[in-house]
Symmetry: C2
Subunit: 307 residues, 2 copies
């Protein structure tokens, strides 16, 4: 299969990336981050979560963030909605897309939400029905698709099963997420080969973590399977809650560098993303986890010093 001519990059840094930050990130910082990202041209920015602040205190300002951002025409603003209450928040905030979630691993589902995979997805049915009535786009995020921190291997058939369940409750787009970054290109291709038999290829995405350094190889493998939607987190924001000190979300800058090198159109300006990554890394006081970001920042500093 030839490489696609264009892909959609979904920037997940403001939500997935910041969610596990221990110190509360000021609302103004979150808003500036989202604005910088949408200005860079992303067609979709995962912006915040309408979830109980008891669960995720970092997202307690969801409504304020949504109210404060500039809406760029051409960018969809997505929010996580765990339940009907979350959906109410999303509607009030005029989100463009809601994100629901489920795991391909029974052990993960039981440990995290204390119910089976099937039950967890069935619980979203009232949410997706109400969302559909309101004309909202619905994305289903399927975690542990390439492996689980508790049960280890996850069979491909389990991924297919959850994809079918997500489809049955009305998901427009489904994320194949390697939550702990254990996948390699062989399994990645096997999973896409299997799930594209039950769900349209052009509405499947790849959400890869770089915990073992495999994310870009997996993205290239997914491109070879005709996948055209990829998630990434600016400056690699996010870390890995299952292994302290390990890498988490693949960095957006690295993904854009890959796409540019392959001649695949993203509509996103890499230099603006590098600047946004520098902005948020500085604001959080942490090292930029993007390799391309670090290299491009080093290059521009060298050029400035030589000028």
């Amino acid at each position: 299969m030839a490489l696609p001519a264009a892909v959609k990059i979904v920037e997940v840094g403001p939500r997935d990336g910041l969610q596990n930050e221990k110190d509360f990130v000021p609302t103004a910082t979150k808003i500036e981050l989202v604005n910088r990202l949408s200005a860079a041209g992303f067609p979709n920015v995962e912006t915040t979560s309408f979830v109980s602040p008891k669960w995720v205190p970092q997202m307690a300002d969801a409504a304020d963030v949504m109210a404060g951002i500039e809406r760029r025409p051409g960018t969809l603003y997505s929010v996580l909605t765990p339940n009907l209450r979350g959906l109410e928040g999303a509607l009030a905030a005029r989100a463009d897309e809601i994100v629901i979630f489920g795991a391909a691993s029974e052990a993960f589902s039981q440990k995290n939400i204390n119910c089976s995979i099937a039950e967890s997805i069935e619980r979203f049915r009232p949410v997706t029905e109400a969302a559909k009535q309101q004309g909202l786009r619905i994305r289903g995020s399927l975690s542990c698709a390439l492996g689980c921190p508790y049960q280890g291997d996850v069979p491909v058939s389990a991924v297919v099963d959850v994809v079918e369940r997500f489809a049955s409750i009305g998901c427009d787009e489904i994320d194949i997420a390697d939550t702990i970054g254990v996948g390699t290109p062989k399994r990645t291709r096997e999973v896409y080969e299997a799930v594209t038999r039950v769900f349209p290829r052009e509405r499947l995405s790849g959400h890869f973590h770089d915990t073992y350094g495999q994310a870009l190889a997996n993205i290239y493998a997914a491109l070879l399977e005709g996948i055209t939607i990829f998630h990434a987190s600016v400056a690699g924001l996010g870390g890995c809650p299952y292994a302290k000190g390990a890498t988490g979300n693949v960095a957006t800058e690295d993904v854009l560098y890959l796409m540019n090198g392959l001649g695949i159109d993203t509509g996103v300006d890499l230099n603006q993303v590098v600047a946004a990554g520098d902005f948020i890394s500085t604001a959080l006081g942490r090292q930029n986890a993007s390799r391309a970001g670090k290299a491009l920042l080093a290059k521009s500093r060298n050029e400035a010093a030589c000028a």
Copy 2:
């Protein structure tokens, strides 16, 4: 093309990785590193450089390192030899393979060794002729194959030209090196498609840097072109001399994790390499740059804490 069943991983950490360390690494530390790596099963360890200590003070102890290591049957110990004097050192130290070098970029060649590519390779002819007479294996390392820090783009035809020159002076193996890590899978495949027309595929290697995060994607692309020899540096030792703070050599642990996931035999024990990476990172007092290494170390620390 199907993926190969087995590959040869050349560990370059002790030479390419340590070469640019500012503080002198004690000879005993270098020896322990080489011993740990050969014990892990590498078929080839790039061990040191027989080069003037004025040029590369870090390698001033080349003879002592070679004299101090344990020779594991099944491991070849390679050394860099810039000239006949270096070859004498390599022979006295009973090296198994010598490494000579040349760039695919005229700008790089002029800037680094003040002569043309053609001249630089012709200068190695007496070295390779003498090495052949002594039964030494010869490897040619071709830098800037995917881009140059001075001239930017490097035409594929320039890479092919240097490969032919290396072949004409007797190189048994030729490294296609992305010295500054700018390559992406499309160009990687184009280069291998071109060079395999003039040199045997099974004696071409891939030496990728991870400066823009692309190394593993490029290695996967090279595997799809049937390449079966890859270089890697334990703990990602090496950095990037062209962009301070940027990433350099691809980390061996990440490469082994990829090969294990693809079911490709390397003969190398990943856990022993992770331990070697921890050893040298601790000895140098710097962060381990391997993502897989960091994740596996975090996992084993968690398990130890829970036991």
